[in-house]
Protein backbone atom coordinates (compact mmCIF):
# COMPACT_ATOMS: atom_id res chain seq x y z
CA UNK A 1 0.00 0.00 0.00
CA UNK A 2 2.79 2.39 1.03
CA UNK A 3 4.73 1.33 -2.03
CA UNK A 4 1.97 2.33 -4.42
CA UNK A 5 1.65 5.71 -2.74
CA UNK A 6 5.40 6.21 -2.88
CA UNK A 7 5.51 5.35 -6.58
CA UNK A 8 2.59 7.65 -7.32
CA UNK A 9 4.35 10.47 -5.50
CA UNK A 10 7.48 9.96 -7.60
CA UNK A 11 5.53 9.95 -10.82
CA UNK A 12 3.71 13.08 -9.79
CA UNK A 13 7.04 14.82 -9.06
CA UNK A 14 8.46 13.80 -12.41
CA UNK A 15 5.29 14.90 -14.21
CA UNK A 16 5.32 18.32 -12.53
CA UNK A 17 8.96 18.84 -13.51
CA UNK A 18 8.66 17.51 -17.07
CA UNK A 19 7.50 20.78 -18.74
CA UNK A 20 10.49 22.63 -17.29
CA UNK A 21 12.88 19.94 -18.54
CA UNK A 22 11.30 20.03 -21.96
CA UNK A 23 11.74 23.80 -21.99
CA UNK A 24 15.44 23.51 -21.15
CA UNK A 25 15.85 20.84 -23.82
CA UNK A 26 14.23 23.04 -26.49
CA UNK A 27 15.72 26.42 -25.57
CA UNK A 28 19.11 25.47 -24.12
CA UNK A 29 20.31 22.00 -25.09
CA UNK A 30 19.07 21.90 -28.69
CA UNK A 31 20.29 25.41 -29.69
CA UNK A 32 23.69 24.92 -28.05
CA UNK A 33 23.96 21.57 -29.84
CA UNK A 34 23.25 23.28 -33.15
CA UNK A 35 25.85 25.90 -32.29
CA UNK A 36 28.44 23.15 -31.73
CA UNK A 37 27.46 21.46 -35.00
CA UNK A 38 27.96 24.72 -36.86
CA UNK A 39 31.36 25.30 -35.29
CA UNK A 40 32.51 21.70 -35.77
CA UNK A 41 32.98 21.48 -39.59
CA UNK A 42 35.93 23.88 -39.60
CA UNK A 43 37.38 21.84 -36.76
CA UNK A 44 36.52 24.53 -34.21
CA UNK A 45 39.19 26.60 -35.89
CA UNK A 46 40.57 29.03 -33.33
CA UNK A 47 42.76 31.79 -34.76
CA UNK A 48 45.14 34.31 -33.21
CA UNK A 49 42.55 37.12 -33.16
CA UNK A 50 40.10 34.97 -31.21
CA UNK A 51 42.79 34.01 -28.71
CA UNK A 52 43.73 37.65 -28.24
CA UNK A 53 40.11 38.59 -27.52
CA UNK A 54 39.77 35.63 -25.20
CA UNK A 55 42.90 36.68 -23.34
CA UNK A 56 41.67 40.28 -23.05
CA UNK A 57 38.31 39.09 -21.75
CA UNK A 58 39.88 36.72 -19.22
CA UNK A 59 42.36 39.31 -17.93
CA UNK A 60 39.69 42.03 -17.64
CA UNK A 61 37.24 39.71 -15.88
CA UNK A 62 39.86 38.41 -13.47
CA UNK A 63 41.04 41.92 -12.61
CA UNK A 64 37.48 43.15 -12.10
CA UNK A 65 36.57 40.13 -9.96
CA UNK A 66 39.69 40.55 -7.84
CA UNK A 67 39.14 44.26 -7.15
CA UNK A 68 35.41 43.69 -6.55
CA UNK A 69 35.96 40.99 -3.96
CA UNK A 70 38.58 43.00 -2.08
CA UNK A 71 36.37 46.09 -1.97
CA UNK A 72 33.11 44.31 -1.15
CA UNK A 73 34.11 42.20 1.87
CA UNK A 74 33.76 44.93 4.50
CA UNK A 75 30.52 46.50 3.17
CA UNK A 76 29.03 43.00 2.81
CA UNK A 77 29.96 42.24 6.41
CA UNK A 78 28.59 45.61 7.54
CA UNK A 79 25.26 45.00 5.80
CA UNK A 80 25.01 41.48 7.16
CA UNK A 81 26.06 42.07 10.76
CA UNK A 82 26.14 45.70 11.79
CA UNK A 83 23.28 48.00 12.65
CA UNK A 84 23.57 51.44 11.17
CA UNK A 85 21.43 54.23 9.86
CA UNK A 86 19.88 54.18 6.38
CA UNK A 87 20.76 50.52 5.92
CA UNK A 88 17.64 49.94 3.84
CA UNK A 89 18.50 52.88 1.62
CA UNK A 90 22.10 51.70 1.21
CA UNK A 91 20.96 48.28 0.10
CA UNK A 92 18.47 49.81 -2.34
CA UNK A 93 21.17 52.06 -3.76
CA UNK A 94 23.42 49.05 -4.32
CA UNK A 95 20.63 47.30 -6.21
CA UNK A 96 20.49 50.09 -8.80
CA UNK A 97 23.66 49.23 -10.80
CA UNK A 98 22.79 45.53 -10.82
CA UNK A 99 19.57 46.31 -12.59
CA UNK A 100 21.23 48.19 -15.44
CA UNK A 101 22.09 46.24 -18.53
CA UNK A 102 25.59 46.77 -19.87
CA UNK A 103 24.73 49.44 -22.43
CA UNK A 104 23.19 51.62 -19.73
CA UNK A 105 26.37 51.33 -17.68
CA UNK A 106 28.34 52.26 -20.81
CA UNK A 107 26.17 55.32 -21.34
CA UNK A 108 26.55 56.38 -17.70
CA UNK A 109 30.33 55.94 -18.03
CA UNK A 110 30.32 58.35 -20.98
CA UNK A 111 28.25 60.84 -18.98
CA UNK A 112 30.58 60.69 -15.98
CA UNK A 113 34.06 60.02 -17.38
CA UNK A 114 33.62 60.75 -21.08
CA UNK A 115 35.26 63.66 -22.92
CA UNK A 116 33.05 66.28 -21.23
CA UNK A 117 31.92 64.06 -18.39
CA UNK A 118 31.06 65.20 -14.88
CA UNK A 119 34.20 63.92 -13.21
CA UNK A 120 36.71 65.55 -15.61
CA UNK A 121 34.79 68.85 -15.44
CA UNK A 122 34.80 68.68 -11.65
CA UNK A 123 38.52 67.87 -11.58
CA UNK A 124 39.20 70.75 -13.97
CA UNK A 125 37.53 73.10 -11.50
CA UNK A 126 39.77 71.74 -8.75
CA UNK A 127 43.10 71.30 -10.52
CA UNK A 128 42.82 73.30 -13.73
CA UNK A 129 43.31 70.18 -15.83
CA UNK A 130 40.46 67.99 -17.13
CA UNK A 131 41.83 64.80 -15.57
CA UNK A 132 40.21 61.50 -16.61
CA UNK A 133 38.67 63.22 -19.64
CA UNK A 134 37.78 60.58 -22.21
CA UNK A 135 38.87 57.82 -19.81
CA UNK A 136 35.61 56.06 -20.59
CA UNK A 137 36.91 54.97 -23.97
CA UNK A 138 40.15 53.37 -22.76
CA UNK A 139 40.96 50.34 -20.66
CA UNK A 140 40.64 52.42 -17.45
CA UNK A 141 37.09 53.38 -18.28
CA UNK A 142 36.20 49.81 -19.15
CA UNK A 143 37.51 48.56 -15.79
CA UNK A 144 35.73 51.37 -13.88
CA UNK A 145 32.46 50.69 -15.70
CA UNK A 146 32.64 46.96 -14.93
CA UNK A 147 33.47 47.73 -11.29
CA UNK A 148 30.45 50.02 -11.12
CA UNK A 149 28.07 47.09 -11.48
CA UNK A 150 30.24 44.23 -10.22
CA UNK A 151 31.08 45.64 -6.78
CA UNK A 152 27.41 46.04 -5.75
CA UNK A 153 26.60 42.62 -7.19
CA UNK A 154 29.43 41.01 -5.25
CA UNK A 155 28.49 42.94 -2.10
CA UNK A 156 24.88 41.77 -2.08
CA UNK A 157 25.80 38.19 -3.00
CA UNK A 158 28.41 38.03 -0.24
CA UNK A 159 26.07 39.71 2.23
CA UNK A 160 23.52 36.93 1.89
CA UNK A 161 26.28 34.35 2.28
CA UNK A 162 27.52 36.08 5.43
CA UNK A 163 24.00 36.13 6.82
CA UNK A 164 23.73 32.38 6.42
CA UNK A 165 26.85 31.84 8.47
CA UNK A 166 26.13 30.39 11.88
CA UNK A 167 26.84 32.93 14.65
CA UNK A 168 26.86 30.19 17.30
CA UNK A 169 30.51 29.35 16.60
CA UNK A 170 31.55 32.96 17.20
CA UNK A 171 29.49 33.14 20.36
CA UNK A 172 31.06 29.90 21.57
CA UNK A 173 34.57 31.17 20.79
CA UNK A 174 33.84 34.43 22.61
CA UNK A 175 32.51 32.58 25.65
CA UNK A 176 35.68 30.49 25.70
CA UNK A 177 37.69 33.71 25.85
CA UNK A 178 38.88 34.21 22.26
CA UNK A 179 39.34 37.94 21.49
CA UNK A 180 37.92 39.71 18.42
CA UNK A 181 41.13 39.30 16.39
CA UNK A 182 41.38 35.64 17.26
CA UNK A 183 37.72 35.11 16.38
CA UNK A 184 38.26 36.80 13.03
CA UNK A 185 41.29 34.62 12.28
CA UNK A 186 40.23 31.29 13.69
CA UNK A 187 36.45 31.27 13.30
CA UNK A 188 35.12 33.80 10.81
CA UNK A 189 37.83 33.64 8.15
CA UNK A 190 37.66 29.85 7.67
CA UNK A 191 33.87 29.97 7.51
CA UNK A 192 33.82 32.91 5.10
CA UNK A 193 36.54 31.64 2.75
CA UNK A 194 34.28 29.51 0.61
CA UNK A 195 31.65 32.23 0.30
CA UNK A 196 34.32 34.69 -0.79
CA UNK A 197 35.80 32.39 -3.42
CA UNK A 198 32.36 31.50 -4.69
CA UNK A 199 31.41 35.19 -5.01
CA UNK A 200 34.71 35.86 -6.78
CA UNK A 201 33.96 33.18 -9.36
CA UNK A 202 30.40 34.42 -9.85
CA UNK A 203 31.70 37.93 -10.48
CA UNK A 204 34.31 36.61 -12.91
CA UNK A 205 31.75 34.59 -14.81
CA UNK A 206 29.30 37.50 -15.10
CA UNK A 207 32.02 39.91 -16.27
CA UNK A 208 33.14 37.44 -18.89
CA UNK A 209 29.68 37.27 -20.42
CA UNK A 210 28.83 40.97 -20.19
CA UNK A 211 28.96 42.73 -23.52
CA UNK A 212 26.84 45.85 -23.41
CA UNK A 213 29.51 47.92 -21.66
CA UNK A 214 32.20 46.96 -24.14
CA UNK A 215 29.81 47.54 -27.03
CA UNK A 216 29.37 51.13 -25.90
CA UNK A 217 32.94 51.87 -24.82
CA UNK A 218 35.56 49.55 -26.25
CA UNK A 219 37.42 51.26 -29.07
CA UNK A 220 40.75 49.45 -29.37
CA UNK A 221 40.56 46.68 -26.81
CA UNK A 222 38.82 43.68 -28.37
CA UNK A 223 36.72 41.51 -26.08
CA UNK A 224 35.26 38.14 -26.93
CA UNK A 225 31.55 39.03 -26.59
CA UNK A 226 31.94 42.12 -28.80
CA UNK A 227 33.89 40.06 -31.34
CA UNK A 228 31.03 37.59 -31.48
CA UNK A 229 28.62 40.44 -32.15
CA UNK A 230 30.77 41.96 -34.94
CA UNK A 231 31.49 38.55 -36.52
CA UNK A 232 27.77 37.84 -36.63
CA UNK A 233 26.26 41.21 -37.61
CA UNK A 234 29.23 42.85 -39.34
CA UNK A 235 30.86 40.04 -41.30
CA UNK A 236 27.91 37.62 -41.36
CA UNK A 237 30.41 34.95 -40.37
CA UNK A 238 28.15 32.55 -38.45
CA UNK A 239 30.77 29.87 -38.01
CA UNK A 240 33.28 32.23 -36.45
CA UNK A 241 30.61 33.67 -34.18
CA UNK A 242 29.53 30.14 -33.22
CA UNK A 243 33.08 29.05 -32.37
CA UNK A 244 33.66 32.13 -30.22
CA UNK A 245 30.26 31.73 -28.51
CA UNK A 246 31.24 28.19 -27.52
CA UNK A 247 34.60 29.41 -26.18
CA UNK A 248 32.85 32.02 -24.07
CA UNK A 249 30.27 29.50 -22.88
CA UNK A 250 32.97 27.05 -21.86
CA UNK A 251 34.93 29.50 -19.72
CA UNK A 252 31.82 31.00 -18.11
CA UNK A 253 30.56 27.51 -17.25
CA UNK A 254 33.90 26.51 -15.75
CA UNK A 255 33.80 29.57 -13.49
CA UNK A 256 30.20 28.94 -12.46
CA UNK A 257 30.75 25.21 -11.92
CA UNK A 258 33.64 25.90 -9.53
CA UNK A 259 31.45 28.43 -7.71
CA UNK A 260 28.58 25.96 -7.34
CA UNK A 261 30.93 23.21 -6.25
CA UNK A 262 32.32 25.39 -3.48
CA UNK A 263 28.83 26.37 -2.39
CA UNK A 264 27.83 22.73 -2.33
CA UNK A 265 30.70 21.83 -0.01
CA UNK A 266 30.17 24.87 2.21
CA UNK A 267 27.97 23.00 4.71
Amino acid sequence: MMDVQERRSRWLGAALTAPLLLFFLLILAYPVGRLALLAAPNGMHVDAAMLRSLRNSLVLSLAVALVSIVVCIIPAWALARWNFRLKLLVRSALTVPIMFSGVVVGFLAILTIGRVGLVPRFLEMLTGKPLLSGAAYGATGLVLAYLYFEIPRATLALESAFREMNIDYEAAAATLGLGPVGRMRRVIAPLARRAIISTFLLTFSVSLGSYGVALMLSRRLTLLPVDIYTAFTGFLDDERAATMSLMLLLFALIGAACSRFLEGTAE
Partner: protein
Protein backbone atom coordinates in the same frame (compact mmCIF):
# COMPACT_ATOMS: atom_id res chain seq x y z
CA UNK B 1 28.33 44.23 19.60
CA UNK B 2 31.22 46.46 18.71
CA UNK B 3 34.12 46.55 21.11
CA UNK B 4 35.97 49.75 21.82
CA UNK B 5 39.02 48.67 19.78
CA UNK B 6 36.82 48.42 16.75
CA UNK B 7 35.22 51.86 16.77
CA UNK B 8 37.67 53.28 14.25
CA UNK B 9 37.39 50.27 11.99
CA UNK B 10 33.64 50.43 12.31
CA UNK B 11 33.66 54.05 11.15
CA UNK B 12 35.99 53.24 8.25
CA UNK B 13 33.85 50.30 7.19
CA UNK B 14 30.71 52.39 7.32
CA UNK B 15 32.34 55.16 5.27
CA UNK B 16 33.23 52.62 2.60
CA UNK B 17 29.69 51.22 2.63
CA UNK B 18 28.05 54.64 2.38
CA UNK B 19 30.59 55.62 -0.27
CA UNK B 20 29.71 52.63 -2.44
CA UNK B 21 26.01 53.41 -2.16
CA UNK B 22 26.66 57.01 -3.17
CA UNK B 23 28.77 56.02 -6.18
CA UNK B 24 26.02 53.60 -7.19
CA UNK B 25 23.36 56.31 -7.44
CA UNK B 26 25.38 59.34 -8.65
CA UNK B 27 25.68 58.42 -12.35
CA UNK B 28 21.96 57.67 -12.79
CA UNK B 29 21.13 60.88 -10.92
CA UNK B 30 23.33 62.88 -13.27
CA UNK B 31 21.53 61.26 -16.20
CA UNK B 32 18.24 62.21 -14.58
CA UNK B 33 19.35 65.84 -14.34
CA UNK B 34 20.32 65.92 -17.98
CA UNK B 35 17.01 64.44 -19.05
CA UNK B 36 15.16 67.65 -18.17
CA UNK B 37 17.01 69.71 -20.75
CA UNK B 38 15.18 70.29 -24.04
CA UNK B 39 16.45 68.07 -26.86
CA UNK B 40 17.48 70.85 -29.23
CA UNK B 41 19.27 68.74 -31.85
CA UNK B 42 16.16 66.67 -32.55
CA UNK B 43 14.36 69.86 -33.60
CA UNK B 44 11.91 69.20 -30.81
CA UNK B 45 10.50 71.96 -28.66
CA UNK B 46 8.84 69.83 -25.99
CA UNK B 47 10.45 67.80 -23.27
CA UNK B 48 12.82 64.94 -23.97
CA UNK B 49 10.36 62.60 -22.24
CA UNK B 50 7.62 63.47 -24.73
CA UNK B 51 10.05 62.75 -27.55
CA UNK B 52 10.93 59.32 -26.14
CA UNK B 53 7.27 58.43 -25.57
CA UNK B 54 6.35 59.54 -29.09
CA UNK B 55 9.25 57.85 -30.86
CA UNK B 56 9.78 54.72 -28.76
CA UNK B 57 6.30 54.29 -27.26
CA UNK B 58 5.73 51.05 -29.18
CA UNK B 59 8.96 49.63 -27.72
CA UNK B 60 7.78 50.51 -24.23
CA UNK B 61 4.45 48.76 -24.62
CA UNK B 62 6.11 45.80 -26.33
CA UNK B 63 8.60 45.40 -23.46
CA UNK B 64 5.82 45.76 -20.91
CA UNK B 65 3.70 43.08 -22.55
CA UNK B 66 6.72 40.83 -23.05
CA UNK B 67 7.69 41.15 -19.38
CA UNK B 68 4.15 40.35 -18.22
CA UNK B 69 4.03 37.29 -20.47
CA UNK B 70 7.43 36.16 -19.17
CA UNK B 71 6.20 36.52 -15.57
CA UNK B 72 3.12 34.35 -16.17
CA UNK B 73 4.95 31.75 -18.27
CA UNK B 74 7.86 31.50 -15.81
CA UNK B 75 5.45 30.95 -12.92
CA UNK B 76 3.56 28.29 -14.88
CA UNK B 77 6.80 26.40 -15.57
CA UNK B 78 8.61 27.09 -12.32
CA UNK B 79 6.05 26.79 -9.51
CA UNK B 80 4.80 23.24 -10.31
CA UNK B 81 8.39 22.09 -10.88
CA UNK B 82 9.52 23.52 -7.53
CA UNK B 83 6.54 21.93 -5.78
CA UNK B 84 7.27 18.59 -7.43
CA UNK B 85 10.95 18.71 -6.57
CA UNK B 86 10.31 19.41 -2.88
CA UNK B 87 7.11 17.50 -2.11
CA UNK B 88 7.46 14.57 -4.51
CA UNK B 89 11.19 13.92 -4.99
CA UNK B 90 12.02 11.26 -7.56
CA UNK B 91 15.16 9.64 -8.84
CA UNK B 92 17.29 12.35 -10.42
CA UNK B 93 15.39 15.24 -8.82
CA UNK B 94 18.60 16.56 -7.23
CA UNK B 95 20.15 16.69 -10.69
CA UNK B 96 17.13 18.55 -12.08
CA UNK B 97 17.46 21.01 -9.22
CA UNK B 98 21.09 21.66 -10.14
CA UNK B 99 20.14 21.94 -13.80
CA UNK B 100 17.72 24.83 -13.25
CA UNK B 101 20.53 27.23 -12.30
CA UNK B 102 22.78 26.34 -15.25
CA UNK B 103 21.30 29.03 -17.55
CA UNK B 104 22.25 31.72 -15.03
CA UNK B 105 25.90 30.97 -15.77
CA UNK B 106 25.53 31.02 -19.54
CA UNK B 107 26.53 34.32 -21.20
CA UNK B 108 23.55 36.00 -22.83
CA UNK B 109 25.30 36.47 -26.15
CA UNK B 110 26.11 32.75 -26.40
CA UNK B 111 22.46 31.88 -25.76
CA UNK B 112 21.27 34.49 -28.24
CA UNK B 113 23.62 33.10 -30.92
CA UNK B 114 22.51 29.54 -30.14
CA UNK B 115 18.82 30.45 -30.39
CA UNK B 116 19.35 32.36 -33.63
CA UNK B 117 21.20 29.44 -35.20
CA UNK B 118 18.99 26.71 -33.73
CA UNK B 119 15.74 28.40 -34.75
CA UNK B 120 16.71 30.37 -37.84
CA UNK B 121 13.39 29.56 -39.52
CA UNK B 122 11.42 31.04 -36.61
CA UNK B 123 13.51 34.20 -36.38
CA UNK B 124 11.57 37.32 -35.53
CA UNK B 125 8.91 35.58 -33.47
CA UNK B 126 8.33 37.17 -30.11
CA UNK B 127 7.82 33.78 -28.47
CA UNK B 128 11.48 33.03 -29.11
CA UNK B 129 12.43 36.28 -27.43
CA UNK B 130 10.21 35.42 -24.44
CA UNK B 131 11.77 31.95 -24.27
CA UNK B 132 15.23 33.51 -24.19
CA UNK B 133 14.22 35.68 -21.25
CA UNK B 134 12.59 32.76 -19.47
CA UNK B 135 15.81 30.81 -19.53
CA UNK B 136 17.10 33.35 -17.02
CA UNK B 137 13.92 33.97 -15.05
CA UNK B 138 12.68 30.41 -14.40
CA UNK B 139 15.70 29.70 -12.21
CA UNK B 140 14.69 32.49 -9.81
CA UNK B 141 11.11 31.23 -9.59
CA UNK B 142 12.22 27.64 -8.89
CA UNK B 143 14.75 28.72 -6.30
CA UNK B 144 12.56 31.13 -4.38
CA UNK B 145 9.58 28.77 -4.28
CA UNK B 146 11.78 25.80 -3.32
CA UNK B 147 13.37 27.77 -0.50
CA UNK B 148 9.95 28.60 0.93
CA UNK B 149 8.65 25.06 0.59
CA UNK B 150 11.74 23.71 2.35
CA UNK B 151 11.66 26.19 5.21
CA UNK B 152 7.94 26.16 5.99
CA UNK B 153 6.35 23.20 7.77
CA UNK B 154 4.34 22.54 4.61
CA UNK B 155 4.54 18.74 4.85
CA UNK B 156 3.26 18.75 8.43
CA UNK B 157 0.42 21.14 7.66
CA UNK B 158 -0.49 19.19 4.56
CA UNK B 159 -0.46 15.86 6.41
CA UNK B 160 -2.50 17.32 9.26
CA UNK B 161 -5.12 18.59 6.82
CA UNK B 162 -5.20 15.21 5.08
CA UNK B 163 -5.77 13.28 8.30
CA UNK B 164 -8.59 15.71 9.04
CA UNK B 165 -10.15 14.70 5.77
CA UNK B 166 -9.31 17.56 3.42
CA UNK B 167 -9.27 16.54 -0.23
CA UNK B 168 -6.24 17.14 -2.47
CA UNK B 169 -7.93 20.16 -4.08
CA UNK B 170 -8.91 21.59 -0.69
CA UNK B 171 -5.35 21.27 0.58
CA UNK B 172 -3.96 22.90 -2.52
CA UNK B 173 -6.42 25.78 -2.18
CA UNK B 174 -6.40 26.28 1.57
CA UNK B 175 -2.84 25.38 2.53
CA UNK B 176 -0.39 25.39 -0.35
CA UNK B 177 -1.68 28.43 -2.23
CA UNK B 178 -1.70 30.86 0.73
CA UNK B 179 1.79 29.76 1.77
CA UNK B 180 3.10 30.27 -1.74
CA UNK B 181 1.54 33.70 -2.26
CA UNK B 182 4.46 35.65 -0.79
CA UNK B 183 7.30 33.84 -2.60
CA UNK B 184 5.34 33.92 -5.86
CA UNK B 185 4.86 37.68 -5.53
CA UNK B 186 8.56 38.13 -4.82
CA UNK B 187 9.55 35.95 -7.78
CA UNK B 188 7.14 37.86 -10.05
CA UNK B 189 8.79 41.18 -9.20
CA UNK B 190 12.25 39.80 -9.92
CA UNK B 191 11.16 38.12 -13.15
CA UNK B 192 9.49 41.31 -14.36
CA UNK B 193 12.59 43.38 -13.66
CA UNK B 194 14.92 40.90 -15.36
CA UNK B 195 12.80 40.68 -18.48
CA UNK B 196 12.36 44.46 -18.58
CA UNK B 197 16.10 45.05 -18.33
CA UNK B 198 17.42 42.14 -20.36
CA UNK B 199 19.62 43.37 -23.19
CA UNK B 200 21.76 40.52 -24.56
CA UNK B 201 19.02 38.27 -25.91
CA UNK B 202 16.66 41.18 -26.65
CA UNK B 203 19.18 43.03 -28.78
CA UNK B 204 20.11 40.11 -31.01
CA UNK B 205 16.62 38.67 -31.38
CA UNK B 206 14.88 42.01 -31.89
CA UNK B 207 13.20 43.05 -35.13
CA UNK B 208 12.22 46.61 -36.08
CA UNK B 209 8.57 45.90 -35.27
CA UNK B 210 9.36 43.96 -32.11
CA UNK B 211 12.01 46.07 -30.50
CA UNK B 212 12.28 45.59 -26.72
CA UNK B 213 12.95 48.83 -24.87
CA UNK B 214 16.56 47.97 -23.84
CA UNK B 215 17.41 47.50 -27.52
CA UNK B 216 15.67 50.80 -28.36
CA UNK B 217 17.66 52.38 -25.55
CA UNK B 218 20.86 51.41 -27.34
CA UNK B 219 19.41 53.12 -30.40
CA UNK B 220 18.94 56.36 -28.45
CA UNK B 221 22.55 56.17 -27.25
CA UNK B 222 23.94 55.84 -30.74
CA UNK B 223 21.63 58.18 -32.64
CA UNK B 224 19.94 60.67 -30.30
CA UNK B 225 21.08 63.70 -28.33
CA UNK B 226 22.10 63.59 -24.67
CA UNK B 227 18.77 64.69 -23.15
CA UNK B 228 16.78 62.14 -25.16
CA UNK B 229 19.17 59.33 -24.22
CA UNK B 230 19.04 60.46 -20.60
CA UNK B 231 15.23 60.62 -20.58
CA UNK B 232 15.02 57.13 -22.10
CA UNK B 233 17.40 55.89 -19.38
CA UNK B 234 15.23 57.48 -16.68
CA UNK B 235 12.12 55.77 -18.06
CA UNK B 236 14.05 52.51 -18.18
CA UNK B 237 14.98 53.02 -14.52
CA UNK B 238 11.31 52.90 -13.53
CA UNK B 239 11.42 49.20 -14.39
CA UNK B 240 14.17 48.78 -11.78
CA UNK B 241 11.84 49.66 -8.94
CA UNK B 242 10.26 46.18 -8.66
CA UNK B 243 13.72 44.67 -8.23
CA UNK B 244 14.64 47.14 -5.53
CA UNK B 245 11.43 46.37 -3.65
CA UNK B 246 12.06 42.66 -4.14
CA UNK B 247 15.54 42.82 -2.64
CA UNK B 248 14.11 44.48 0.45
CA UNK B 249 11.35 41.87 0.66
CA UNK B 250 13.77 39.03 0.13
CA UNK B 251 15.17 39.83 3.56
CA UNK B 252 16.88 36.75 4.80
CA UNK B 253 16.55 34.43 1.85
CA UNK B 254 19.62 33.62 -0.19
CA UNK B 255 19.71 35.06 -3.66
CA UNK B 256 22.36 35.18 -6.35
CA UNK B 257 22.44 37.54 -9.22
CA UNK B 258 23.36 35.70 -12.38
CA UNK B 259 23.82 36.77 -15.96
CA UNK B 260 20.18 37.67 -16.40
CA UNK B 261 20.06 40.96 -14.62
Amino acid sequence: MIERWGTKRFAAGLTLTYGLALIAVLPPLSALMQSFQPPASEGWSGSAYRYVLDTYGSSLTFSLRLALFVVVASLLLGVPAAYGLVRHPFRGSRLVEQLTVVPLAVPGISIAMAIIIGYSAQRGQWLLLAAGHMLYTVAYVVRIVMNTLRNLPLRELDDAARTLGASRLDRLRRIVAPLLAAPVALASLIVFAISWGEFNVSFLLATPTQLPFPAALYGTYTSNSGPVAAAATAIFLLGALPLIIAVQLAGRSRFDYGQGA
